[in-house]
Amino acid sequence: MAIVTASKKACSVNPLKMSQPIGGSFAFMGLRGAMPLLHGPQGCASFGLTLFVRHFNEAVPMQTTAMSEVATVLGGHENLEQAILNIYNRVKPEIIGINSTGVTETNGDDVEAFIRLIRQKHPQLEKLPLVYVSTPDFKDAFQDGWGKTVARMIEVLVAPVDEARPRDGSRVNVLPGCHLTPGDLDELRTIFEDFGLKPSFLPDIAGSLDGHIPGEFTPTTIGGIGVDEIATMGQAAWTIAIGAQMRRAAEIMQARTGTPFRLFGRLCGLIPNDEFIAFLSQISGRSVPSKYRRQRGQLADAMLDAHFHIGGRKLAIGAEPDLLFDLSSFLHEMGAQVTAAVTTTNAPVLQRVRTEDVLIGDLEDLEELARSRDCNLLMSHSHGRQAASRLNVPFLRVGFPMFDRLGAAHLTTVGYRGTRDLIFDIANLIITDRETNHGPTPDTWPSSAVTCRSIRPSRIEQGEKKHG
């Protein structure tokens, strides 16, 4: 069980964390015809937008209530009203998803009340769903904004269940955490369909941010789950939540509609996928298709081939709680040692990370820990690139944002197949590093009489302790 501590620094250096409101907007991006709206100054939306555009290389819809200094003094009612009307008139969205920011929370804007007043005044908005989530910048992190927003979507958009109507045994609700990519969602969709199940992903960023080419310019999201489909989610036989951040959303779904849920903390690695596939087989009443028997074999073989390289590696990882838990557990199961772990926000799942301590901190902390504990594999989002080059260790970009490499949307780590590919990526990174930086020379193994320093006794001791 890991001990979770928070950094005591006054100055965060090279932040790992991103803010909660854009995590909320990200969730709204998985809805069809949606326009995420940040209630705050325009910079809040502009920074978020730039970040998403650089990560996905896609046009991303995002709007702002453009709070000025004066508007902040007077309260945000008028700006919110204008923003909603402007969006309604200009882009005809199917839904507007509103997240608050630091400014409007400090101000204490009562947005739910504003929305009621706006609806009273403008009856034309009657049919337009407006979902509001409170997400102050100065609390929590990106992942929390996503989790809260999905929970709120369920509260507002899922229709009460018609008791007379039988549940659809083949329908499954899937609540993916924000650490899953469009590629992950598509992989999961295929798996569900192979079991004859019909999944409804909430949110479905694979529909909107997978990079497909729309027929004409669309100012809202170009795909994702529709509001009409969300309304009927209560009729599904099961809810599957992926990542502990989705527990609350799944519980709300169960409380509202009686749909039972099963939470999978992670879907990377052999054992978690065995459990997942077994569960699907059980709820669908179908035997596991031969395709997955073969994929399981391929994963097992990849583990055999790669454990030479990954085993014993000292991993330094910086990621949001669910991604951290997912990838560090998987690497632990491949024989790596999780030596430094830094995350953005507190979460119960952190205690289950297989390491001694998890620090809520920044990338400076991660860099320092990696250096002092001799880590030789670094994982974080793209902002870790500076640390990696200073440390000169192999660096795998994971999570969001990934703005300096292409294909972030399709990086797949779920399922037998996703795990297999991830294993190869990591092993190849390590092999490249060995070839580039650690080729043997006549002086690599000096006689013990010459020097003992290069053997680094501390490293051996630490290694033995872990194995003992």
Binding site: S12, M18, I22, C44, S46, A59, V103, I225
Partner: protein, 547 residues
């Protein structure tokens, strides 16, 4: 020390700005920036502008006082290049918590400055104010003053919280902070008659290094660059320059004009984009330096260098002419760039079918008319939808613009090149313009365009086959019970293709550029409604997979 509202009014009164000079008194009072429209705004805030303008100072620690959003969501996102320190690429923020919002963030800010001083010992620390601490009344001027005295190091407050206005205003407020706290606080080791300042140049992709060797060759010394590859000490003594060139036209005009007022440093507005502009700028620099006391032979050497470089560049461009014959360009950018690149593009044989004038002054527009004739297609303010249509209708062969509009072009399967700040290639001076031509050629003649404009052959096959079932579909839609009972997967997949008439699915079926075959799908509302009925009853996985 003046208050923020006074500074802002002062910035709006900029006399050196041509656009400002042409405004009425009332307009001027409203400021340079368009009133922000809730729900229809784009672009960054004042803090963004201030950070963009100052971040290229390489040996300074840039500390953002605010909640995580302001810095955590935005750091390491500009491609300025440094010849020395990498301190500017590190990110520092107070990451204010709820407790700080309640009890005030000044103490945390002070401790943050202390930590940075102890760990990184930078030349100076720039402290950026943001909205939330501005709201709760954190006095960063006071904290900076105290910290500066305590740690014996310049700690400069940059007072441009996001909600006071636009990015452009932020650029100027950053300039004001430099004028108030930095410029004139140091002295250079020595001065020469050839010392100039470059103002408003950010050395993106290291592009200024395409020009600097020419200045070096002429013996012209860049005393200070604000702020590309800039160093704190150089800005502190920048008031000793003999002349200044203002590069990114409107961003830092207040710095140039106030340095003229205070220190008598003449400046001109110039650009190193395009051949003629580069030559003009070099000549202007030489002229100004000579007026300020440099030997007159500088002009001869400058002319000789220009002649040599121009010949080289024009010769290099010559080879593109046959490749560019008949190719049409649309240029979406702001201000100076809207005409400064035009001449070179035209010389290479490209036809400019449109250029945006959204941010241009009347003078800029005159230049465009001169270059492109009276019938120049000037685009005042084009919505993305209109640009998309223009490209889709094949009215241009390539678009040059900033990163924000890239997907409009790319998704219309039209070649596109980034010519704004996020680009990864350097296009400055005589070398840069040739590089730009190379990039245009590569983009125009890439074999992907022909492939992408073709629909998948099996799509058309499917279409013909399924068209036969249309009538059947309508019949079924009219009778929902029968419809849901008898619809197989095949019919559903058809309904998906024409769903909602949004064209997206039509394109999925027919490829990005086949407008004609897609039409029957998107235009037929009756059919789509019919399909929707069926859809709500049945949700086959295939349908969602396609969405």
């Amino acid at each position: 020390m003046t208050s923020l509202p006074t500074t802002i009014q002062d910035v709006f009164h900029e006399p050196g700005c041509a656009r400002n000079a042409s405004k009425s008194n009332v307009e001027r009072k409203n400021g340079c920036t368009k009133q922000l429209k809730p729900g229809g705004a784009a672009g960054g805030c004042a803090f963004d502008g201030a950070k963009v303008a100052l971040q290229p100072f390489t040996d300074v620690a840039h500390l953002v006082h605010g909640p995580i959003a302001c810095e955590g969501n935005s750091w390491d996102n500009r491609g300025s290049a440094s010849s020395g320190s990498d301190l500017w690429r590190r990110s520092f923020t107070t990451d204010m918590s709820e407790t700080d919002v309640v009890f005030g963030g000044e103490k945390r800010l002070y401790r943050a400055v202390k930590e940075i001083t102890e760990k990184y010992d930078p030349q100076a620390i720039f402290v950026y104010q943001t909205c939330v601490p501005a709201m709760i009344g954190d006095d960063i001027d006071m904290v900076c003053k105290a910290a500066s005295a305590k740690f014996g190091k310049p700690v400069i407050p940059i007072n441009a919280p996001g909600f006071v206005g636009s990015k452009n205003l932020g650029n100027k407020l950053a300039g004001e902070a430099l004028l108030e706290h930095v410029i004139g606080t140091g002295e250079p080791d020595y001065t020469t008659p050839y010392d100039i300042n470059i103002i408003g140049e950010y050395n993106l992709s290291g592009e200024f290094w395409q020009v600097k060797p020419l200045l070096d060759e002429l013996g012209i010394r860049i005393l200070s660059c604000i702020s590309g590859d800039g160093k704190y000490r150089e800005v502190a003594y920048s008031h000793r320059a003999k002349a200044a060139m203002m590069v990114c036209s409107k961003a830092m005009i207040n710095v140039a004009s106030k340095m003229k007022q205070r220190y008598g440093i003449p400046f001109f507005e110039g650009s190193f984009y395009g051949i003629e502009d580069s030559s003009d700028s070099l000549r202007q620099i030489a002229r100004m330096l000579i007026e300020r006391g440099a030997p007159a032979e500088l002009m001869e050497r400058t002319q000789a260098l220009i002649a040599r470089e121009e010949t080289k560049a024009w010769t290099a461009i010559e080879r593109f002419k046959p490749r560019f014959a008949g190719k049409r360009v649309v240029l979406i950018t702001g201000g100076v760039k809207s005409w400064s690149m035009v001449a070179a593009l035209q010389e290479a044989g490209l036809e400019i079918v449109g250029t945006s004038v959204k941010k241009s002054t009347e003078k800029d527009k005159e230049r465009i008319k001169e270059l492109m004739g009276q019938h120049a297609h000037m685009i005042e303010d084009m919505s993305p939808r209109e640009i998309y249509k223009m490209l889709k209708d094949a009215k241009a062969d390539i678009m040059l613009s900033g990163g924000k509009s890239q997907f409009v072009a790319l998704k219309a399967a039209t070649p596109w090149l980034d010519i704004n700040q996020e680009r990864c290639h350097a296009y400055m001076g005589y070398i840069g313009i040739v590089k730009l031509m190379e990039e245009i050629e590569k983009a125009l003649y890439n074999p992907i365009w022909d492939q992408l404009r073709q629909a998948a052959p099996w799509d058309e096959f499917e279409w013909k086959r399924q068209a036969k079932t249309v009538a059947q579909m309508h019949a079924q839609a009219a009778d929902p019970v029968r419809g849901t009972n008898t619809n197989g997967v095949k019919t559903i997949s058809f309904s998906n293709q024409s769903e909602a008439g949004d064209g997206e699915s039509a394109i999925a079926a027919h490829g990005p550029n086949l407008v004609e075959p897609a039409k029957p799908c998107t235009n037929s509302t009756a059919r789509c409604l019919a399909c929707k009925d069926i859809r709500s009853g049945l949700q086959p996985p295939a349908l969602q997979a396609a969405e």
